[in-house]
């Protein structure tokens, strides 16, 4: 069933059949059908290289990091810091000190909101986000605006699912202290022009916080070229394990920020009367970190780098474009968001008035895993006056054959619910 049948424009790549060998989870049947996993936007699968890196760590190297001077602790520290180095290189961070390990994108964004926000926001200030944000880039700002008295504003979206740039021009003003936006929408698929948006934020003196949860796994990312002040992303969406995420930040900004979580490792000195903070990145890494998970993320970054992000985004683009064309032909199916040229490898849609849960359940009965719901982005759904969508998303291990199976299954859903 699974094979690579695309005419790819890019050269020098592993065949997808080879890639599939690295993902044991995909070689199983679900309800008697071969599994078709189209839910990587929620969480990707992991290649054996990542699993083996973690297993090897636990079987040979584990000890707590940074504070031990015995052989295992030195080796664990080296492995953990080496993972940080790989991640820094992956996003072209100027220094490893600017790569902070968190649990996930959500924690990264909360760290910025709580630490930077508490120190820099006051009544009269404005925080600007967009209507296409994931809850993780909405709720932390709602919370910190409540604490600080700052005002939260939203850039609206156009009917085509793009940011409304006219409105943005007006909303971004000298009261704006921070502009936080997603690089790619997890519902609409829209790829936002990050570098331009960052420049616009800087032009009014605001900092730019980029939610890279969907972009970093799929598009080549260079934080220096983007000039982003912060970039947040999650390991589990980019072939890495759960339990680890990243916050990149500009050094001067991170240095000026008060700490967030307090505890071991993030201190320089603890006296009963008060404490002094450790250097970056440790100031923001309190307690024993997710050591094995960081090492797994390091292996995932190696895997992605070997494939090449340019190949990955081109490959996904071709599958998504094919899917877009095929799905358009299903009567009653409506895809949200922009056309294939402006979107990443995912499609959210409604199918007549069949509830997305029911679509997903019927697809699951045919072995196809898609997501249904509001995808943690209720404001987008409110915008379109729908409560939920069905989303199919693609990654390096998917094929156009799987798109054909999706189309067949969607037609089956229509026939069951036609009434």
């Amino acid at each position: 069933m699974i094979s690579a049948t695309l005419n790819r424009k890019v050269t020098s790549m592993p065949t997808v059949t080879n890639i599939l060998d690295d993902f044991p989870i995909l070689h199983q049947e679900v309800h008697g059908h071969p599994l078709v996993y189209l839910d990587s936007t929620a969480s990707s699968q992991k290649p054996v290289q990542v699993l083996e890196a973690m297993d090897h760590y636990y079987r040979t190297t584990h000890a707590n990091v940074h504070r031990g001077i015995h052989t295992l602790s030195e080796a664990a520290t080296t492995a953990y810091e080496d993972a940080r180095r790989r991640v820094a290189r992956f996003i072209n961070a100027p220094s490893t000190k600017q790569v902070i390990f968190t649990r996930n994108t959500t924690e990264s964004l909360n760290l910025v909101a709580y630490s930077w926000g508490r120190a820099n926001l006051a009544p009269g200030d404005e925080v600007l986000i967009t209507e296409m944000e994931h809850h993780s880039n909405i709720v932390p700002w709602q919370l910190i605006c409540e604490i600080t008295g700052a005002t939260l504003r939203y850039v609206p979206i156009t009917p085509q699912g793009e940011l409304d740039y006219d409105a943005l021009g007006q909303l971004l003003n000298e009261r704006t202290k921070v502009f936080a936006f997603t690089a790619m929408s997890n519902v609409l698929g829209t790829i936002n022009p990050v570098a331009e948006l960052v420049a616009q934020a800087h032009a009014v003196g605001a900092i730019a916080v980029v939610d890279g949860a969907q972009s970093v796994p799929h598009l080549s990312t260079d934080v220096q070229a983007l000039d982003a002040d912060f970039l947040a992303f999650s390991s589990h969406k980019m072939l890495g394990p759960t339990g680890i995420g990243v916050l990149y930040g500009k050094k001067e900004i991170l240095q000026a920020m008060p700490p967030f979580l307090g505890g071991g490792d993030m201190i320089r000195e603890v006296k009963m009367s008060g404490s002094r903070w450790n250097d970056l990145p440790y100031k923001f890494e309190a307690g024993t970190p997710a050591i094995a998970d960081a090492i797994g993320l390091g292996a995932a970054v190696d895997y992605l780098t070997q494939l090449g992000l340019d190949w990955i985004s081109e490959y996904e683009h071709q599958i998504m474009t094919y899917a877009w064309e095929q799905l358009q032909q299903i009567e009653g199916l409506r895809i949200l968001g922009p056309g294939p040229e402006r979107r990443g490898g995912l499609l959210s849609f409604v199918l007549g008035d069949i509830h997305p849960h029911d679509v997903a359940a019927v697809l699951d009965m045919q072995g196809i895993a898609v997501r249904a719901g509001h995808h943690c982005a209720q404001p987008i759904h409110d915008h379109y006056h729908i409560s939920a969508t069905t989303r199919a998303s693609f990654y390096i291990y998917n094929t156009t054959d799987e798109v054909d199976l999706l189309v067949t299954a969607l037609n089956k859903a229509k026939s069951i619910f036609s009434f």
Partner: protein, 126 residues
């Protein structure tokens, strides 16, 4: 597949019983499933500790809406004490299909709303 969307579930979904609103309900309660956004409102008439009238409204998938419709068929005539005792198994037996933990929330939302409305029990039925 046909196991999951049995004819009686589809029938309740297509032709929901007691869908709409009561005039002057004694109890009116509304909640959403935070995991997916499904919504259910339940309205009740109560007399001498017994349910004598019911209506529901809402939007959501076949499972949540069929579950609500089936539940409204069963509870008229029940005492409020009986309502309190209704549990997860009661709903899954009504639906008559095996159901995973995430989808279970869809199935249980109507009962959750019912018990919250009658007894202030805000927790998912267990």
């Amino acid at each position: 597949m046909d196991d999951f969307y049995r004819e009686n579930i589809l029938d309740h979904y297509r032709h929901p019983r007691h869908k709409g609103h009561l005039e002057d309900p004694d109890i009116h309660y509304h909640d959403v499933n935070p995991f997916c956004g499904d919504e259910i409102t339940i309205e009740l008439k109560v007399k001498d500790g017994r349910i004598v009238g019911v209506a529901f409204d809402g939007s959501g998938c076949a499972i949540s809406q069929a579950s609500a419709s089936m539940l409204t068929e069963e509870i008229v005539g029940m005492t409020l004490d009986e309502i309190r005792k209704l549990d997860k198994d009661y709903v899954t037996e009504l639906l008559g299909i095996p159901i995973g933990p995430v989808r279970l929330k869809c199935a249980l939302l109507p009962l959750k709303v019912l018990k919250a409305g009658v007894w202030g029990l805000e927790e998912w039925p267990e």
